[in-house]
């Protein structure tokens, strides 16, 4: 497992992102922790005073990303790893078509990821090293009736990351897509889902796989199930209640 020295985690105030930032800092890595909620970042900084560099930023403030990214890499002292862990999944009813909710998902899950990861991709393509990780989801493997835009946003992230992988592999840069199943976070609070994973477990998996370019399902069980689901013909899939 590569030992990272300088990292940025976008979406570090809660859930998987917060755990990734904590575990990286605990291993001695200096982490630029990016999130909207400054008070949450202050708690992290208090826990790892020399290692967490808090950065209050809204991932959807795309225009400011180039400057924020560059300033943060300067403060962190370099960059070996970036993890984009920001994500939203508002509850959408099966017969609801709310553009506001859908746009929020595209803004954070897709455009925010592109704004941040493009910066890292450009940097890594010039330095010839680095790992770029996006937290995708098994939900992005198929378009399902319950979450059309959340599914679409994760599918877009997966395809974007695949394209970056194809661009950057020859330059020595690792591009990693992580596909967790449901995780016990604020985003899933109140949802009744089977087999929920702990964020600590997912974070440890992300760090372990961060230098192994490719797509990784967090659960081996999901790898099998979703291999099947991906291959169900559309005319059957549309009749299933999943």
């Amino acid at each position: 497992m590569a030992k990272f020295k300088h990292a940025i985690v976008v979406g570090a105030s809660s859930g998987i992102g917060r755990e990734i930032a904590r575990q990286l800092a605990a291993s001695g890595c200096r982490v630029g922790a990016v999130a909207r909620r400054g008070e949450r970042l202050a708690e992290l900084e208090k826990e790892f005073p020399q290692l967490i560099v808090p950065c209050v930023h809204d991932a959807t403030d795309y225009d400011s990303v180039p400057k924020v990214f560059q300033d943060l890499t300067g403060q962190v002292g370099g960059l070996d790893l970036i993890v984009y862990a920001s994500g939203v999944m508002p509850i959408v009813e099966v017969d609801e078509y709310s553009f506001e909710k859908d746009k929020a998902m595209i803004d954070t899950n897709v455009l925010g990821a592109i704004a941040w990861l493009n910066q890292a991709a450009e940097r890594f393509s010039h330095t010839g090293h680095g790992s770029l990780v996006g937290i995708g989801s098994v939900a992005g493997d198929r378009g399902r009736m319950k979450q059309p835009v959340y599914n679409a946003s994760k599918a877009a992230l997966h395809t974007y990351l695949e394209a970056l992988r194809n661009r950057l592999d020859r330059k020595g840069v690792k591009v990693v897509t992580i596909k967790p199943g449901p995780v016990k976070t604020e985003m899933t609070a109140g949802l009744d889902m089977p087999g929920m994973m702990e964020p600590e477990q997912v974070a440890a998996f992300v760090i372990k796989k961060a230098s192994k370019t490719g797509e990784h399902y967090v659960s081996p069980k999901h790898a099998v199930i979703f291999a099947i689901i991906r291959n169900i013909p559309s005319w059957i899939f549309r009749r299933l209640n999943i």
Binding site: K3, P66, K67, Q70, T73, G74, G77, G78, L79, Q119, E122, R123, H126, T127, G128, H129
Partner: protein, 475 residues
Amino acid sequence: MDLPTPQHLALPGDKIREITGFGMSFRADSYVFQPTTLDEVREVFALARQVGRNIVLRGAGRSYGDAAIDAESIALDFTQMKRFLSWDPETGIAECEPGVTIEDLWRTGLPHGWWPKVVSGTMFPTLGGALAMNIHGKNNFRMGTLGDNVLEIDLMTVDGKVRTLTPDQELFYAAISSAGLLGVITRVKLGMKKVHSGDLKVYAESLPNWDAQIEAFEKRAENADYMVSWVDCFGSGAGAGRGLFHAAWHLPDEDSESLLPFHQDLPEKIAKVVPKSQVWRILKPLNNRFGMKWLNAAKHLSGKFVGNRKMHTQSLVAFSFLLDYVPNWRNAYLPDGFIQYQTFVPKEAAKRVFAKQIEMTQEAKMEPFLGVLKKHKPDRFLLSHSLDGYSFALDFKVSEETWPRLQRLCQRMNEMVIESGGRFYLAKDGTLTPEHAQAYLGENLTTLQLLKKELDPEGLLTSGQARRLKLFESA
């Protein structure tokens, strides 16, 4: 140069590069700018202030450790500022921009019978970088350092002003040797040495131990032009210090053909068979303790039986630039690189300290794969590494796993060097601590700090090494 407009305060993303020390064990990402004029240098100073970044000065990147790298800073790389401003083939005096290399110098001078007075073991350093570190060669005991042989320099400080400095000014001795921390050397005027032949007369002698090593140097110090000795760092007991000594003399007779570059150019193939660009691939599998023990023993044996105590002729380039014989040889040390650990010890303590250093490396099972001994004389430069004594340069392989242990070993050896009144060379350093630097630099460190306050009060110029050694923290 493509600089961002003042309204857009982020640095251009396409300027970032990973840069390394020559040993490749120190690495950092920096925004690299390659100015070609003095005004472009000033523009980069202004830009650094606007974006709140430091600047690290860099020539060809031949310093082994972290002297020419600094994480997330602007690296001002002078390799494209490489014009000869004047050159007089009658007097052998050249005025150069800082990116002119030692190779450029000999290729320009030698056809007219001029050879640089001081050259390093590789021809690729720039003059700016070489003066910042005040390099020496195999004739240090006779000619001093490169700085000793410079007539005039221009120093640009971070306020953009240029001062012309000559050897009758104290600042000359600080600007040269201070590792690019006081200002940029933007012009160098130097004279070259008149030579009649492009060849040297070279004497080789296989030596059995440390006593014989020191004796060989002392015996020929009166008349040799160059001296250097290889040491087998795996030799122990009665064989400790064994190696191969070389002394060389310029030839007095005119031989104009030997002055031409085609006579000097190093062969493309080793033993007329192996393309030298591929030799590092052959070396790589041998680049471990077992392989290197065998290679060192083989070299010692061949020195004993081939050409021992005999004279031969060798071209100036082949003798001087041994490091350039095998291109990319350092790749054999990948992925984690190597350090070159070179310490300078007064004559009377040299044998004891160097013998002990080798014993310590053998006890730790971390023997250097190469050891090179040279004789030196003192000079008056502010951060001088030289003294009346000897230096011993050791190449250590680095791996992520062994690096902490290697650092501790070198630091224990550093203590011994300091106790003997010895010195260190910033171009080679990667293991000194702030306490070690303070101990060997003494009052000169205070002088450096005072000059820093005067010439670069905002501390714009820095390096990974300056940060590691906390050179300016107590200023």
